[in-house]
Amino acid sequence: MADQADIHAIPDLMIDDGDAIRLVGSRCQNCGSPFFPAVSRCANPDCDNSSIVGARFGGQGTLWSYARQNYAPPDPVLRDEPFVPYVLGLVDLDDGLRIFGRIDTDDETQLEVNARVEIVSGHLGTDEAGAPRIGWKFRPLNGRGRK
């Protein structure tokens, strides 16, 4: 768990909620579709009665797939200097949001498609002023992301 005083990658997208973090988004009350970041209008093309309210997302999910970024990506990606490779994944949260995020692991060979993960906060890299920045990450359950 990152210190609450740590600077978020982007302000107001994430709140620390005790042991868990929650992503600040929205949901359509008419069709139930989840959105992150928050939206002002439902983007489900089959929903003809947009009714957006604030919603929080977090908890656990299932890893659709993952990949390791081996070379330093261009700005504005947060990273460490010198570059430390990171692993990212695409996760279906149990509450219906499909979301990209870094994975809290340094060994993606321990990961598996369909592994269960939980969402946590963690270090993403240092910003242009050299300050560490945090954001949401996925931590494999059962230690190594095994199913």
Partner: protein, 390 residues
């Protein structure tokens, strides 16, 4: 709708060049005009893909070409659709000629990009969707392709050697294509020994950025008698965008509720183009598809229903995706051997398909090719597909 034909195509060799993007596009345009046998003054309108280079920083590349060839007052349409721009520009021109607005149009696209990974977020505002995705995660193109490749490995068991074979096959074809940037032979071992970009994809398994340009002249049926070349017909031409709930969200997050949708922008555009053409996907003699990585050359034919899920691997290994095989894919050598001059790609594919349908492709010729499909995809969830018929 009127029948429309491609009557001229031009391509500038791919690579890294000192000339401006306008010079590269101008070269391709000159070749396309010569191929069609039309003069600049016969061009009634221009549809241009908006490059990140030239165009006064506003994507006004069509206007740059007008200043080069002559300010005739010709209407210019500049448009952007990420890496699908060239094909979207073609579709715009096709639609206007088919709809009777103009009879003869020029389509063009070219690109010069700096070395390295394409930089995505143009804005640094916290409210910009692409900035959020890059700042908070860092999702590069090769990263997404690797993620998709890992999913394929888990679902269908594709091996590293099979992925590498896609690049080997690409280079066999590029050896006989004078326009390609990379024409040296590769081996499976050589591909697998190249640096890992994003596991499981190696350097030689993703398309790099290149400089290049392409152009085409299209014409309504009733004006064909004025043209020098024999026509290649546009049998189908469609644009589509990604569906809500697609496996790969366009932004940092999406909707997890529609399992099974994957590259819906591609399948949507291709289905519409085939429907217009009135042909089935298995009737195609060749397909030029967007092989941004080795993953795409295996997955896209399956998504389009050209073969069963997982079958691409064995077809590739048995040589069936070569020009003389039963499912020829990317006889040009594809993006893997050309690199991506992003704005040109959709028109580059038309160039290859037209040459194939004219029987001009030499050692890479698909025997008796009469029906070809081209397919692009671009950032933001864009795709376009064109069916060409001799």
């Amino acid at each position: 709708m009127r029948r429309v034909a491609v009557v001229g195509v031009g391509l500038h060799k791919y690579g890294k060049f000192d000339q401006s993007v306008t010079d590269l596009i101008g070269d391709a345009v000159g070749r396309a005009l010569d191929d069609a046998g039309v003069s600049w003054s016969q061009i009634e309108a221009i549809s241009s893909a908006s490059s990140r280079s030239g165009g006064r920083g506003w994507g006004l590349n069509g206007n740059d070409i007008v200043r080069t060839f002559g300010q005739s007052g010709v209407p210019v349409y500049n448009l952007s659709a990420g890496c699908a721009s060239g094909a979207n520009a073609f579709h715009t021109a096709y639609s206007m000629v088919a709809g009777g607005v103009y009879d003869v149009m020029l389509v063009l696209g070219g690109e010069k990009l700096p070395k390295g990974m394409i930089q995505y977020a143009a804005s640094k505002e916290d409210t910009d969707a692409e900035y959020v995705k890059q700042r908070c995660v860092g999702v590069t193109g090769p990263n997404v392709w690797a993620l998709e490749a890992n999913r394929r490995i888990a679902e269908l068991g594709t091996t590293p050697e099979t992925f590498a074979q896609v690049s080997v096959k690409s280079r066999i074809l590029a050896r006989d294509n004078e326009y390609a940037r990379y024409r040296d032979e590769l081996t499976v071992d050589g591909v697998l020994a190249s640096p890992i970009i994003s596991e499981p994809l190696h350097l030689y398994e993703v398309c790099p950025v290149s400089d290049g340009a392409a152009a085409a002249v299209i014409c309504a049926e009733e004006r064909l008698s004025e043209m020098k070349s024999s026509p290649v017909w546009v049998a189908g031409c469609a644009v589509a965008t990604k569906l809500w709930g697609d496996a790969i969200p366009s932004d940092v997050a999406g909707f997890a509720g529609q399992q099974g949708l994957h590259h819906s922008e591609i399948t949507g555009a291709v289905a519409k183009a085939l429907l217009q053409a009135g042909v089935g996907v298995k009737e195609l003699d060749l397909v030029e598809l967007a092989d941004n990585s080795v993953f795409h050359e295996l997955q896209v034919p399956e998504l389009l229903g050209m073969c069963e899920p997982g079958e691409s691997d064995s077809l590739l290994v048995k040589g069936q995706t070569m020009p003389d095989g039963r499912m020829p894919i990317n006889p040009s050598g594809g993006f893997l051997s050309f690199g991506e001059a992003t704005m040109a790609m959709g028109i580059f594919q038309v160039f290859e398909a037209v040459h194939q349908l004219r029987g001009w492709s030499g050692k890479r010729q698909v025997p008796g090719a009469k029906l070809a499909l081209t397919q692009t995809m671009g950032l933001g969830g864009n795709a376009a597909a064109i069916v060409l018929k001799s």
